[in-house]
């Protein structure tokens, strides 16, 4: 089945938008107004884009510390995300979570957290809820190659397989966990997807830098889940371009080679796809230029709003730990000096 041009333009748009958002964050990080750790997705946009393209707002999604791309690809509000990174009350968590904790329930993005592996069973629980309701919806869990080292991954996969839950595991294998290469953490030749297969999941794997092939993989997997085929596990090879945490490049640190980085960068899916669209698909450069300008404009507005929005009121630092019920009135935990 030939991908049609709308889908392709959509994939390109999503990748472009994520790239530009991440670069804008990187550029402005030195202003010291985003006072929170950021884990950028530059270089990994394509996986988020192809998976996100196949999910509806009614589908669920959870993610990790490196969630910007997933959040945007699932339809999360850009303004709410940037404001969150600025710690503003208009942020998607009212400034309580920061870059590593994103949520947009309106589009089914149910949360990302900063503990490796932490959202994996939660995504399975969301999958359980979908199975109980029974409507062909999917719960998508993004995870890194490092998360596969956490026991909870196996526990969760076992439960998903055992109960045939509509869960999609998307493993972005970018070869590193912080500064630790794969071979320091897992046997170099072993394949993550082979383990998932032995655990009983339907598996697919592929080159995350091949956008159309990856998109096919995501489509097949998600279609099979919707039809009740049980959980799928996707592993995509991909690569992070910037430092693990923060806005800079860090190849000078020596934990990976500049050459390795350059070889991935040379295959930049965004640029490859741009060439493909302009060349093979005869999309005019004007159309793409317009798209870029629109994205730039949208980002400009998002930062503008974030910068000008107020911080949450001080009282929010010491309240809100319980969902308010009558029992709360009764609650006399220590509320800080602000409330006294």
């Amino acid at each position: 089945m030939r991908n049609n041009i709308d889908i392709e333009m959509d994939l390109f748009y999503t990748m472009l938008r994520i790239r530009k958002v991440e670069e804008a964050i990187a550029d402005r990080y030195k202003e010291q107004k985003m006072r929170t750790p950021v884990h950028l997705s530059i270089g990994q946009e394509s996986v988020a884009a192809v998976v996100g393209r196949q999910l509806y707002h009614e589908d669920y999604c959870v993610s990790t510390h490196r969630a910007h791309a997933h959040y945007l690809a699932k339809g999360g509000s850009l303004q709410a995300m940037i404001s969150e990174i600025y710690g503003k009350v208009t942020g998607c968590c009212r400034g309580r979570g920061g870059s590593m904790h994103l949520i947009d329930t309106a589009v089914g993005f149910m949360g990302s957290t900063a503990i490796v592996g932490n959202t994996i069973p939660i995504g399975v629980g969301l999958g359980l809820s979908l199975k109980l309701a029974g409507h062909g919806k999917v719960s998508c869990i993004f995870l890194g190659d490092g998360a596969v080292e956490e026991g909870v991954f196996y526990e969760s996969l076992n439960i998903a397989v055992l109960k045939k839950l509509p869960v999609l595991f998307v493993c972005e294998n970018n070869r590193y966990s912080v500064y630790s290469p794969f071979s320091k953490r897992q046997p170099a030749e072993r394949k993550i997807y082979e383990i998932a297969k032995a655990m009983g999941a339907t598996i697919y794997h592929g080159d995350g830098y091949d956008v159309l092939a990856s998109h096919d993989v995501a489509r097949c997997a998600i279609a099979s889940i919707r039809e009740g085929g049980g959980p799928c596990f996707l592993e995509f090879e991909t690569y992070r371009w910037r430092e693990h945490c923060g806005p800079n490049y860090d190849n000078d640190l020596g934990y990976r080679t500049e050459n390795e980085f350059l070889s991935w960068k040379a295959r930049d899916p965004l640029e490859v796809f741009r060439v493909y669209l302009v060349g093979k698909c005869r999309v005019s450069k004007q159309v793409i230029k317009k798209m870029e300008e629109d994205v730039d404009q949208e980002i400009e507005v998002a930062f503008e709003l974030a910068e000008t929005a107020p911080f949450p009121k001080p009282i929010e630092a010491v309240t809100g730990e319980y969902k308010s019920t009558e029992a709360n009135l009764n609650c006399s935990t220590y509320k800080g000096e602000l409330t006294t």
Binding site: Y60, V62, G91, C92, C93, R94, G95, R96, G97, H101, I103, T105, M110, G111, T113, I115, N118, T119, I120, P121, I122, G123, V124, G125, L126, G127, L128, S129, L130, L132, S139, G151, V152, E155, S156, N158, I159, L162, G320, E321, Y322, K323, T325, E326, A327, N330, C331, S332, T333
Partner: protein
Amino acid sequence: MMQNMTYGAAINTAMHMAMELDPNVLCFGLGVDDPKHIFGTTAGLQEKFGEQRVFDMPTSENAITGVGIGASLAGYRPVMTHQRLDFFLLAMDQLVNAAAKWYYMFGGQVSVPIVIRLIIGRGWGQGPTHSQNLQAWFSHIPGLKVVMPASPADAKGLLLESIFDDNPVLFLEHRWLHDSEGLVPSGDYRVPIGKARIVREGEDITLVSMSYMTIEAIRAASYLEKQGISCEIIDLRTVKPIDWNAIFASVHKTKKLIVLDTGVTTGSIAGEIIARICMECFSILTRPPVRIALPDNPEPMSFGLTKHYYPSNESIVRGITSMLSVDHDLSVTVESPVLHDVPGDWFKGPF
């Protein structure tokens, strides 16, 4: 209407009622549908509500907690069970980093209305890895509520309230309580979270207790009554948040405080209560407050050691009489089972 039933049966009744009231209530955990039904507490649920809502799980404490959190984010109200609190230590990441914080950390958008039932205390020679009482841990974590009912009625009322609370609630059941009996109101009976119960009014001293220690407190108080000492017993029922007003009021009356805890001494909830009372009712107390809790030692298994490890009603009597500087007549015996390591003479092990 009231009915006499065991603590275990009261929990079972509450589960049936909750699952009837709300189709979003789920019940899962290791063994919930097995022939023993978690000391009878989950009996009949699967037959009545089906395998979709009541189901066994693999031995994966961390993941099943996450599964419960995920389901609760989607609107379900899961009630999870662990046969021993000790096993639940595997799930602290999900409890603390996810369940407890989700509501606050995500700006108050989605909460985690999950109930986690944990069995604490001792069975019978369970030893160091099957009898921990870590309520102090849970009560230290913002965002969690922690209930520790002592009576069948409170077990029912607090379980129903916990299930319909929108926050994560730890529901701690002491193993020595499941077979204790008491009158339980029928119907949709609720006991508010955060409200203590005055089990017994008294003038001379305030005993604050929780869970199984309330049973020992009552034994001690009944005994001391015959010696002319009048104890007020406050059963906390909820240990987070604590009903401070109830304690303040009682201390203002008796001016003396002993706090009982089923956990080890250092860092106990009993200590928290003493600290706060001393800070807020500083000039009220006429004697140094006392806490009676387990020594700072792992729980031993041996029959020969548990006797000296667990405080009993006698420890409480000694604590009170020494605080009041009175002698007591040891010829009047405190009513207790024959052997120190069982909740009643009927208990024959193995678990």
